[in-house]
Symmetry: none
Subunit: 312 residues, 2 copies
Amino acid sequence: MKMPAQYPIRAASQLTGLPVDTLRAWERRYQAVNPSRAGRGRLYSEADIRRLLLLRRAVDGGHAIGQVASLSDGALEELHLAGTTAQKERPGADRGVSLDLEPILTAIQAFDYSATNEELGRLALLLTPRELVHQAVLPLMRLAGENWEKGLFQIAHEHLLSACVRNLFGGVVRRQATRNGRRGILITTPSGEQHEFGILAAAMIAVAHQFQVAYLGPNLPVNQILFAAQNLAPRAVVLGIMAMNATPAVRADVELLGRELPTGVELWIGGSGGRKVVDLTASDKTIVLEDLAGFEQNLERLKASGVREDAR
Amino acid sequence: MKMPAQYPIRAASQLTGLPVDTLRAWERRYQAVNPSRAGRGRLYSEADIRRLLLLRRAVDGGHAIGQVASLSDGALEELHLAGTTAQKERPGADRGVSLDLEPILTAIQAFDYSATNEELGRLALLLTPRELVHQAVLPLMRLAGENWEKGLFQIAHEHLLSACVRNLFGGVVRRQATRNGRRGILITTPSGEQHEFGILAAAMIAVAHQFQVAYLGPNLPVNQILFAAQNLAPRAVVLGIMAMNATPAVRADVELLGRELPTGVELWIGGSGGRKVVDLTASDKTIVLEDLAGFEQNLERLKASGVREDAR
DNA sequence: ACAGGTTTGTCAATTGTTTGTCAATGATTA
DNA sequence: TAATCATTGACAAACAATTGACAAACCTGT
């Protein structure tokens, strides 16, 4: 039995970034939330925290608390989606900037490490790992890239964002990697491929799908990938390969893996160089992941096909 | 067959950083723990210590001891905690925690990702970031290296450990980096230096010393380091440089930084290549960090010299 | 564009509760 | 006898709730 966690007002304040006075004011004036009142002091539930974060997001987006306080959680979520399109009215606003991304973007722009970290953390609390990747981090990286092209951002801005995201993702993967499902996925990149972001995002998606993830980082020699796969006996080995690194050597590595991996272990290749290193004429168990959606489809397929053997 | 370690109240106080009185008060008033009372005085088990640390973490995170004291260990771990866990320095810490690295080593040997992760997490809970680096991670990396030389470990084993450590460190730095102290330290490596472990360890040490860390990851171009330093206005910029990467280009980078960094911003160079890239004849504000101990000495110096301006 | 009214974040004063710490005392051991 | 620990009682600081108030920001109708 799990007691739903309860948070006193101080903890709620830290988690939401709202001052305690504001928490009380919102409750007193608009009944924005109604935390339980066991004994002395308010106790906010997880749902309350989430709702407060939604409210904050709305308020940060320019809505008046008096107007949105009575909305349902669902309406609050839609409101932010609607806000992204309605944003166009505002002149000079970037297109498609989700409302909740703006605080982060301004934090990055101001080169405020703490603020970037905190806001990212709040988003992580509000969203599932999957949503975090799709709705927050990927758009953020895209926006950062655009801003760089426009001359608004420096490389350092991107490093700031990347470093914060890297730490955040690492923490999430770490927490979820223990005691998740029993289906395993091994994630890494072959020798020569240093880029980590793609496989980290993949790891986030995988944990969101309840897979037990073994994340080994980038740049692992083939024979070692093989060794790891033999020991971990995952359902699939996922490799990320960028186009610029899709060398003949890597292609040979992938072929080797396709041949030598234990039966029952699939080989999935993602990243912009995925297609380049897989020999499509050889119809083996190697699968090219065109994008994250394709990755998720394969995860779902695995989940479905694995039900029987899991139920045992 | 070894007896589970038992700690008298004084030792428990040292290990947890909680005053003796508090330990007794928590037990008397909330039955937060029930140490065995074999004859003379309380004897806390490892599990008790762990639980006390969890409780402390929760309390630091804004929870009331009266509310959380009755929660199970599992529930305590589940609690989301916002970033402000300003881990208080424990007086006389560092002392003989019977650190058993064996479980982790066997977990790595067995290539058990979850177990490695879990054991590392347990240590992280038990130790301050500083102790974690000195007493757990560095020894582990050394042991892994030795085992590799002996042929017991593969490269994959080291990757497994590195990946887990990377995620763990990232999470710790992330949590502590949010408005801890007001003293700032910028940590990164210059272009061409990809190795991240050293600067990550440095970041861990720095947060343990209550510094506000801006960790930007490796491989940042000089002009961007300069840009970041101008924006963040840290007390020091810390660069990690390995001997193999101590190229003339990097040397020029370091010189440039030594010249151009804003006044009041020190430049610290660490890593095995530190000495090679600093021109010792030019007596500027650049400091070579021989090892982590030297790093900590400089941190202490900064802390001491900054007292006045902090007190304002 | 401007005056008047409303919204809203923040602060202050007061009251009651929780919690860390301390002092006094007694018991046991080296 | 000195030292360590347990117990108990006590107390001040920190914390939370409530109410009231205020100023800045924000409408809104002219």
